[in-house]
Amino acid sequence: MNTVAGSATASTIGLRVRRRFRAWINRRIPPSRVTTLNQRRIFIFPSKAGLFYALCMLVMLLAAINFQNNLSYGLTFLLFTLFIVAILHTYANLSGLTIRAVHARPAFPGQRSEFELQLERSRRGEHVGLRLQWPGGSPVSASLVDSDSLRLQMHLQVGQQRGWYSPGRLLIESSYPLGLLRCWSWIDLDLHALVYPRPLASAELPGLAAETPDGAAVLIEGSDDFFGFRDYRQGDSLRQIYWKGLARGQNVQVKQYVAYADRSVWLDWEMFTGLGTEQRLSHLCYWVLQFDAQGDEYGMRLPGVTIAPDCGERHRESVLRALALHGTGEPSP
C-alpha cells in the first residue's frame, strides 16, 4: 500500500514540477510567431562529450603533477581555457538566430502535417550545425552559413482531435564548435496545424437537397465546353490563355469554358439528425471529400455557418476548416 501511495505522491509531485516548469518557461519564453534567441532564451550545459573531455583533462593534470612537467601543466590549462572560451562560442552560435513561423498545413487526424519555419541569421554571425526537433518528431539539421535565411519543412504527426493542433515547444540546439557544450532553447512559435474531422463513410446521403435546376450553365474552370473570352486575371491557368490572340497583338485573354452542372449539392448539418456532433462532422467530411473528388459543386450549412456551393481546392479547404472548427468558438471563414 505504502509503495502505491508513494508512487502516487511521486507522480503528483512530478506533475506539479512539470506544471511549474511549464509555467516558468512560458513566462521566460512566451509564445510568439517570431523569436530571436538571446540570453533569456538560451540554456547551456556541458554535453556528454564535454564530461568525457573533463575526465581527460583530469588524467592529464594527474600526469602533469606526477611527472612534474610544466608543459603538461600548460597543455592541461590550455585545454581547460579552451573549454571556457568554447562556452562563449557555443552560445554565440545560437544567439541572434531568428525563428519565424511561416505556416502549418492542415491534416487529417493522425496524419503528418507540414510545419514550415524560416530561420534568419543575424547580420555577421553564422549559425552552424543547428538541430531542430518538435516533441515526438524526428530531428532536422540546418546551418546558416552563406545564406541569410532558410526555409525548413518539418513533418510531424498531428493529434486525433479535430481543431487546432499545437505541436508544443520546438527544441532548437547546437553543440558547434567543439561539441563540448550543448546549447539549446525551447521556443513556442504559436504555430498550429488545423486538424480536420476524421472522414467517416455513410452509405448514402439522406435527403439530398438539390436547389439549382438541372441544365443551368455554371462557369466551372477546367470544363470542356467553350463559352467565350474574358480579360486575363491573375491566377488564371496558362492553359486557358488565348495564345493566338496574344500573337496577333491583342490583350491577354483567356478562354472560358462551362460545364452544365448536373447537380449542385447542399451538405446540411440537419442531414444526420440523431447522431452525435463528432459523428455528423465526420460524415459531412466524408461527403465533402467524395464530392470534391468527383468535381461536383457543393455547399455547406452548419449551425451559424453557410458556405455557398462551389468547387475547387480553396472551397474544399474552407469547408473542411468550417467543419474542423465547428463548435470551438474560433471564427470560421
Binding site: N69, L71, L78, I84, A92, G129, P177, L178, Q234
Partner: protein, 661 residues
C-alpha cells in the same frame, strides 16, 4: 545512423592530417614500424570512405592489437616503462582510425590526440617541439570543429580559422593559470624513462678503451652568472669525482661505500669572493650535477657529497634548473681522514709497474708533494706528448705503461689517469675529476653554453696545508685546449665535430649562422629558465614580487580579474556584433512604408512578397493603389534589378514613402 552523428568528409580529412602531425614529434623515438601503422590505417580508412573496402572485422582488429603488442615487445624487449607505453599509445591511436564510424568515435580519437601531445612533453621540452605541439593542438581542435559542421563535403579551411581563433583566445587565460596554479609534489611514482640512453659523461672512465672519441655539439648545460663571467681557463665544471681504479677503469664511490661518519663533507673556510650562478642542465639520466668548486646549493633535493660535488637522489630526467654559490678559493678538506687517505692512495698492486717505478723515483728526489706534481707536469711538457682525439688503442695489460713510454698520444682521460696513478704511486693522495671545462660565452644574453665536446677530465691532489688542489695535466701538454677550447686545440687534426656534419657550430665562421645560433640559444635559455624551470619556489618568488604577500584572497582576485579581462572582450566581440543589426537605407524605407499601411489596417504577413502584399493592399485601400504600386515598384527595382543611379532613386523612393498619407 543519424545524420548528425555522421563524420563529414572535411572532418575526416582534418582528422587524418592531425593524426600525422601528432606523430611527427615522436618520430625519432618510436620504432619505424609504428609509422607504417599510421600509413596503413590512413589508407584503409580512406578506402572505407570511398566504399572500396570495409571496416575491419573483430578477428582482424584482434590480430592487429596482438601484432602491436608483439611489435612493442620485440622493439623494446619490455612492455613496462614510459617509451613502450607511449609507442603502444601511438599505435592504438592509429588503429582507432579504423574504428572511426560516428561522432563519438571521433571524440575518443581526438581527445586521445590531446593526450598524445602531452606524452611528447615527457621527453622533450625544446622550444621548437613545443611550437609544433601548439600547432598540433590547433589541428586537433580544427578536426573537432570540422566534426560539427555537418554536410561539408569539400575540403574547407574555415574550421582552421575558427580553431586558431579559439586557441588564441584561450592562451592568455592559460598563462594566468600556469603561473598561479599551485604546484604540488608527485602523488605517486610514475614509470621512468628506462629506454632513454644516458647522454654526456659516463660513470666510468677507461683510458685507451676507445680509439676515437666522438663528441657531439649538443648542449650539456647553460650557466648564467649573477656578476661577471670568470675567465674560461678557470671554468672547471666538476661532475664526478673518481677515486677508485679497478681493472684499468676509474669510477666514483657509491654513497653506501663511504663510511657513515665520512659522508658529510668537511666545512671549508669560506675565503674569497663567492660566485653566484644558475645552471640549467639537459637531462642526463644520471644523478650528478655540475658546478664550480666549492659549490653549495640551497635548492630542495640537491645534496653535497663528501668529495665536494653536488648530486640528486633521483635521476635527472628533465631539464633541471638549479642555483649555486661557489667559493673557488676555499680550501677543501684541511685534514684528511685515515679512510680518505687510504682510499685516495689505493692502487691495484700489479698493474702498470713501469709507471709506478718512474713515480717512485721522482718521489725519491722530491722534498714535498708540490715538487712531485711539478716534476710530473714538467715531464709531460718536455717529452713529446701529443694531444689528440684519435689516439691508438692501448693494450689490456698495463695500458698506462704503454701510454707513458710508447704511444704518448692521447686526450684528457689518458693524461689525468696516468697523472693520478703516478701521484698515488709517489704517495700523494690524488683522484680523477670528470666534468666539463670552459664553455662558450653567448654575447646575446651573457650565458655560458657548455657543450658535450667540452667534456674533460683532470686531477685533484691533496697537499698538506692546501687541501685538495686542482691539477690539469692536459694543460701541460696542450695549453690551447684550456685557454682557447677544443676547436683551437684540434685545428691541425680536423677532428672537431667530425661526427656532427649538420651542427650549426661547425659553421660558426659564417657570421649570420653564428648570430642566429646564438640568438636561438639565448631564446632557449630564456624559455628553459621561465617555463621549464618553473617550480613551487620560483612561483612563490614571482607571486611575492608581483603581489606582495600572497593570500588566498589575492589569488582569487587575480584569477577572476584576469579572466574577466579576457573573457568579457571576447564575449562582447562574439555577442554584441549581432545586436548591431543595421538595415540598409532601402529596407528601412520599405519598412516605414509597411508601417504606414499597417496603421491603415493592412499588415504584411511574414514571408509575404512585396508584390503580393502590394496587390492585397491595393485591393483593400483602392484610394492609395497608385502610390502603393509606385513605392513597391521602386523598391523592387532598387532591391533586385540594381540600377546605375541608386542614390537618386533612393531619394525618390524616400519622397514617395513620405507622400504616402
Amino acid at each position: 545512423m543519424k545524420v548528425e552523428q555522421q563524420i563529414p568528409r572535411n572532418a575526416l580529412v582534418w582528422i587524418i592530417i592531425s593524426l600525422f602531425t601528432l606523430v611527427l614529434p615522436h618520430i625519432e623515438r618510436v620504432p619505424h614500424w609504428v609509422l607504417s601503422v599510421y600509413v596503413l590505417s590512413a589508407i584503409w580508412r580512406v578506402m572505407v570512405y570511398r566504399g572500396r573496402w570495409s571496416f575491419p572485422r573483430w578477428p582482424i582488429k584482434l590480430g592487429l592489437i596482438f601484432a602491436a603488442f608483439a611489435g612493442i615487445l620485440f622493439s623494446y624487449r619490455s612492455l613496462i616503462g614510459l617509451e613502450p607505453t607511449v609507442a603502444l599509445l601511438l599505435a592504438a591511436f592509429a588503429f582507432k582510425l579504423l574504428e572511426l564510424k560516428e561522432r563519438k568515435d571521433a571524440y575518443v580519437l581526438l581527445f586521445l590526440g590531446y593526450f598524445v601531445i602531452l606524452t611528447e612533453f615527457l621527453f622533450s621540452q625544446d622550444l621548437l617541439i613545443v611550437l609544433l605541439c601548439v600547432v598540433n593542438v590547433v589541428l586537433v581542435t580544427t578536426a573537432l570543429v570540422a566534426l560539427h559542421r555537418p554536410g561539408v563535403d569539400s575540403f574547407s579551411t574555415r574550421p582552421l580559422t575558427k580553431a586558431s581563433l579559439m586557441v588564441l583566445q584561450a592562451m592568455p587565460l592559460m598563462l594566468v593559470l600556469f603561473f598561479l596554479f599551485p604546484r604540488i609534489g608527485p602523488l605517486w611514482t610514475v614509470p621512468i624513462k628506462s629506454q632513454q640512453a644516458t647522454t654526456g659523461m659516463s660513470e666510468f672512465m677507461t683510458p685507451g678503451d676507445v680509439s676515437q672519441l666522438s663528441r657531439s655539439s649538443e648542449v650539456a648545460f647553460r650557466v648564467e652568472f649573477d656578476g661577471a663571467i670568470p675567465p674560461r681557463s678557470t671554468l672547471y665544471w666538476r661532475g664526478l669525482v673518481m677515486s677508485r681504479l679497478r681493472e684499468n677503469t676509474w669510477s666514483a664511490l657509491d654513497y653506501y661505500e663511504v663510511p657513515a661518519r665520512e659522508r658529510r663533507p668537511q666545512e671549508p673556510q669560506f675565503t674569497g669572493v663567492p660566485l653566484r650562478y644558475s645552471v640549467i642542465m639537459a637531462p642526463t639520466q644520471q644523478r650528478w650535477l655540475y658546478s664550480l668548486r666549492y659549490a653549495r646549493s640551497t635548492d630542495a633535493g640537491i645534496l653535497n657529497a663528501a668529495d665536494y660535488r653536488l648530486f640528486r637522489p633521483v635521476i635527472i630526467e628533465d631539464d633541471l634548473l638549479y642555483r649555486v654559490t661557489s667559493w673557488p678559493a676555499a680550501q677543501l678538506e684541511e685534514r684528511l681522514s685515515d679512510w680518505r687517505r687510504r682510499t685516495e692512495l689505493a692502487l691495484p698492486p700489479q698493474a702498470n709497474p713501469r709507471v709506478r717505478q718512474l713515480a717512485q723515483s721522482i718521489a725519491a728526489d722530491a722534498h714535498d708533494s708540490q715538487e712531485i706534481v711539478d716534476a710530473v707536469l714538467t715531464l709531460f711538457r718536455e717529452q713529446p706528448f701529443v694531444y689528440t682525439l684519435q689516439p691508438p688503442l692501448l693494450p689490456q695489460q698495463d695500458p698506462m705503461d704503454a701510454f707513458l713510454f710508447d704511444t704518448r698520444r692521447g686526450f684528457c682521460e689518458h693524461y689525468a689517469s696516468v697523472f693520478v696513478i703516478m701521484m698515488r704511486a709517489a704517495g700523494v693522495p690524488a683522484r680523477v675529476v670528470a666534468g666539463y671545462q670552459g664553455g662558450e660565452v653567448n654575447p646575446v644574453n651573457r650565458t655560458v653554453i657548455v657543450h658535450q665536446f667540452d667534456a674533460h677530465a683532470w686531477a685533484e691532489v691533496w697537499i698538506q696545508g692546501q687541501g685538495w688542489v686542482r691539477v690539469d695535466p692536459t694543460a701541460a701538454v696542450s695549453p690551447e685546449r684550456i685557454e682557447l677550447g677544443l676547436e683551437e686545440a684540434l685545428a691541425g687534426e680536423g677532428s672537431f665535430l667530425a661526427d656532427s656534419p649538420l651542427s650549426p657550430l661547425r659553421y660558426r665562421r659564417i657570421d649570420i649562422i653564428n648570430k642566429l645560433r646564438l640568438r636561438y640559444d639565448a631564446l632557449t635559455y630564456r624559455w628553459q629558465s621561465w617555463v621549464v624551470g618553473f617550480n613551487a619556489d620560483t612561483q612563490l618568488q614571482l607571486l611575492q614580487r608581483w603581489f606582495g604577500e600572497f593570500s588566498a584572497r589575492t589569488f582569487a582576485v587575480v584569477i577572476l580579474g584576469s579572466w574577466a579581462l579576457v573573457l568579457i572582450p571576447v564575449g562582447l566581440v562574439l555577442l554584441l556584433r549581432r545586436k548591431v543589426h543595421k538595415l540598409s537605407k532601402l529596407d528601412r524605407l520599405y519598412l516605414r512604408f509597411c508601417d504606414k499601411l499597417e496603421k491603415r489596417g493592412v499588415t504584411r504577413e511574414a514571408g509575404e512578397s512585396p508584390s503580393a502584399f502590394a496587390s492585397r493592399a491595393q485591393h483593400q485601400l483602392p484610394l492609395m493603389a497608385r502610390s502603393i504600386a509606385d513605392v513597391t515598384q521602386r523598391y523592387q527595382r532598387l532591391a533586385y534589378a540594381g540600377t546605375d543611379d541608386s542614390d537618386r532613386e533612393l531619394d525618390e523612393l524616400a519622397r514617395a514613402v513620405r507622400k504616402l498619407n
